[in-house]
């Protein structure tokens, strides 16, 4: 029932003729009043629905065992699915004509055989190379048997929505799940396809010492070069109540070999007043994979959200990062590093909205492209609204291109509507700095060694900010290994 093959080239019908209204087959079987009304009132709009998107949505719904018996689906999840299918009806597959995808070509996904993974992996052997409490999500399914949550305080909950036994936690979580999001098509696809919602709940005042390590594995995959593209839709909701603090390590890993698959993940974070989330996000997918990731963060007053991202994998990797400061005196710090060592696209689209007084934000984005067909894309929007007085916002992006024809498209932009603000902003695209290189050589260090040290140091500025030495070390090694051939070739 699951494996549906899609025809490679489906285009949105340019001007649908009114005489042949294409009313899509209803997506959900558990039709609601609302659904019906949407369909009728928007029949014109739905007639423009993208057939590819609809087929995908159908396949996703079919793949979920729960969609036939809605009793086993908790309400927040059901709402999520309903909202998502509704949005999906009017959202076409993005094309390069759409501004958010101007430099990011998603057509290879469309021309692949996208197949939802309908069950957790049969067997899973995972080396437990983490010293932290960890939770495993494989092909979008939580795998409790290989997770290890010891080391977390009892009052902290990490697990699936279905497994929440406390009424009060469930109630609190339901208040927030997928409210006020501004996601795109991929957000909605995840909303339909997520088999369950993983929840990380930190109660008020609880300061969690150990970070929780979320390990996402993609097991199903087509062999290198095949057009098979199994899709998985992991979805996690992190909810930190007043004054709570936790570290989240998200790590995305491919299985063995360069398998092709599509990980379409969503992370939602809510940090209540005075709370703090330190988020480490590490993406090491296979070079044949599509990796599309949403991180949506809502921060109440006085809260802190710190992100350190290192993304090296994927044939297409797109990170949508949306952060909204919902109260005054809120701190947001973002440090991201993208590396493209192969024929790949690394894309960060970030949006930070500062709406309240005395907000503080720092954003540093760095990328290295060391392949002539590699590409990095950065669209970083920071909006300082009228009431965000005495805001201190800084944004800096630096790119390093190590090969002829390596490409970077950067669009950092600060929109400032408030007038009493301190904002700095900059973008630089460079080869290695000649003066720095000379400093090494003047001390007897040959150009190749110097170049290597400088390239490594370029990424180190972000990697060094990962708060956990073990994670930092592992990423440093990974980074070095990936760069080794590139440095040799380019010198």
């Amino acid at each position: 029932m699951a494996a549906l093959a899609f025809t490679p080239h489906i285009h949105r019908p340019p001007t649908p003729s009114p005489s042949t209204p294409r009313i899509p087959k209803p997506i959900a079987r558990h039709k609601t009043e609302r659904r019906v009304s949407v369909q009728t009132s928007a029949s014109l709009q739905t007639s423009f629905s993208d057939p590819f998107v609809l087929q995908l949505a159908e396949a996703l719904e079919d793949s979920l065992p729960s969609s036939s018996s809605s009793s086993s689906v908790s309400l927040p999840l059901q709402n999520l699915r309903d909202n998502s299918s509704e949005t999906l009806l009017s959202t076409p597959w993005p094309s390069r004509k759409d501004e958010p995808f101007r430099y990011t070509d998603t057509s290879f996904i469309k021309s692949s055989q996208v197949q939802p993974v309908s069950h957790p992996p049969q067997s899973l052997s995972i080396s437990s190379d983490t010293q932290f409490p960890n939770f495993v999500i494989a092909d979008g399914f939580a795998v409790n048997s290989v997770s290890d949550l010891s080391g977390l305080p009892n009052e902290v909950f990490v697990g699936n929505l279905l497994d929440i036994s406390s009424e009060s936690i469930l109630k609190r979580v339901s208040e927030f799940v997928s409210k006020g999001s501004e996601g795109d098509l991929f957000w909605s696809i995840n909303g339909i396809g997520a088999p369950d919602l993983t929840v990380v709940y930190v109660p008020a005042g609880c300061i969690v010492e150990n970070p929780i390590h979320l390990r996402y594995f993609s097991i199903e995959g087509g062999e290198e070069g095949s057009s098979k593209l199994p899709i998985s839709n992991p979805r996690v909701f992190v909810f930190v109540e007043k004054g709570g603090e936790i570290g989240i390590i998200e790590e995305f890993l491919g299985g063995d070999g360069n398998k092709s698959y599509w990980a379409n993940a969503v992370l939602e974070v809510v940090v209540e007043e005075g709370g703090k989330v330190r988020h480490s996000y590490i993406q090491k997918q296979s070079f044949s994979a599509a990796h599309i990731k949403w991180t949506s963060v809502r921060q109440e007053s006085n809260s802190t959200y710190e992100l350190v991202e290192v993304s090296t994998g994927g044939r297409l990797s797109r990170h949508n990062l949306h952060i909204t400061q919902l109260g005054p005196d809120t701190v947001t710090e973002l440090s991201t590093f993208h590396l493209a060592v192969s024929d790949q696209t690394q894309d960060l689209h970030s949006k930070l909205v500062l709406d309240h007084p005395r907000g503080y934000s720092r954003q540093l984005h760095k990328c290295i492209v060391s392949h002539s067909l590699g590409q990095a894309v950065f669209d970083g929007n920071i909006k300082v609204n009228r009431y965000a007085q005495q805001t201190d916002a800084g944004q800096l992006t630096r790119s390093l291109l190590l090969e002829p024809r390596a490409t970077v498209n950067v669009k950092p932009n600060l929109q400032i509507i408030a007038d009493d603000v301190k904002c700095s902003h900059g973008a630089a695209i460079s080869d290695l700095e000649e003066t720095q290189l000379f400093y090494f050589r003047a001390r007897g260090i040959d150009a190749e060694t110097a170049r290597k040290a400088l390239v490594l140091s370029f990424g180190a500025e972000v990697i060094q900010q990962l708060p956990y030495p073990s994670v930092r070390k592992e990423i440093e090694t990974h980074f070095k290994e990936l760069l080794e051939p590139a440095i040799k070739a380019s010198s």
């Binding site: 291109l401 932009n413 600060l414 000379f438 050589r441």
Partner: protein, 333 residues
Amino acid sequence: MALNLLPYPPCTLSSPPQSYSSSSATSSVPFTRYASPSNSLLFTLTATRPLPFRTNHARRHLTPLSASLSTFDSPSTSGSHGKKKLLLEVKDLTAVIAESGKEILKGVNLSVYEGEVHAVMGKNGSGKSTFAKVLVGHPDYEVTGGSVVFKGENLLEMEAEERSLAGLFMSFQSPIEIPGVSNIDFLNMAYNARRRKLNLPELGPIEFYAYIFPKLDLVNMKTDFLNRNVNEGFSGGERKRNEILQLAVLGADLSILDEIDSGLDVDALRDVAKAVNSLLTTQNSVLMITHYQRLIEFIKPAYIHIMEDGKIVKTGDISIAKILEKGGFKAIS
């Protein structure tokens, strides 16, 4: 019907027109090309001229200038080179700024013998730093004429790193920051480059630490400077000390010190001068660039050269500096 045609999904991230942001909104950045610089790793150590003397600098590198035992006997009174060996010989050196072709050095002549201390003084912009940087092979400049022989070899044919390995050291007037590279890693890399050249095994981080630790005292630097990134966030004075630390670790036959005294407080100046003095032996030489009498009193050069508009226009002994201090440059011209 056209009313309902939505060309974009409703949630596109388009920039509203009222954004009056900074230079920003560059929607695209053109391709940037990476050009690999020529990167010859071959040491062109074949002498291009007959060696006028034999040096055993290989042995000298084995024992990089030791921190202790500074029995530098100043030749300041003698003024004659005696039987000393010629270390550096610069003849009619001319150089331009590579980018603009503007001539900065207009025929520099200078000879430095082993064990000598020389000072170069001169107005701002007269070309002192340019001279120093040209000697160590800075890519901003292009030599257009003249010759430079260092220890019998044609210096101008050597890559910057070969010049360093051959025993030439320059402390920068404005040392730059290298974010992401720790000071100790940098020093370790530089030290190992020397070991490699001498066919000696490289030192790992722990062995190296043991080697470098005593040198910190010499420049009065705290250990935590080793773990910080090269010059990152260092004060002006700390950067100068860091340059001298590099000199102490690597050793040199000729050290060119470009304004190591600028930006130093009185105590720091004494520390740095003491460190330099302690690194001096009867074989190695110093070419210091300075504006001030103070450093000259500490280090006591035998020769003072005055540079003006890209040339050395006057050479004399330490008394020149005194005249300068009193009457300015017009008193000596």
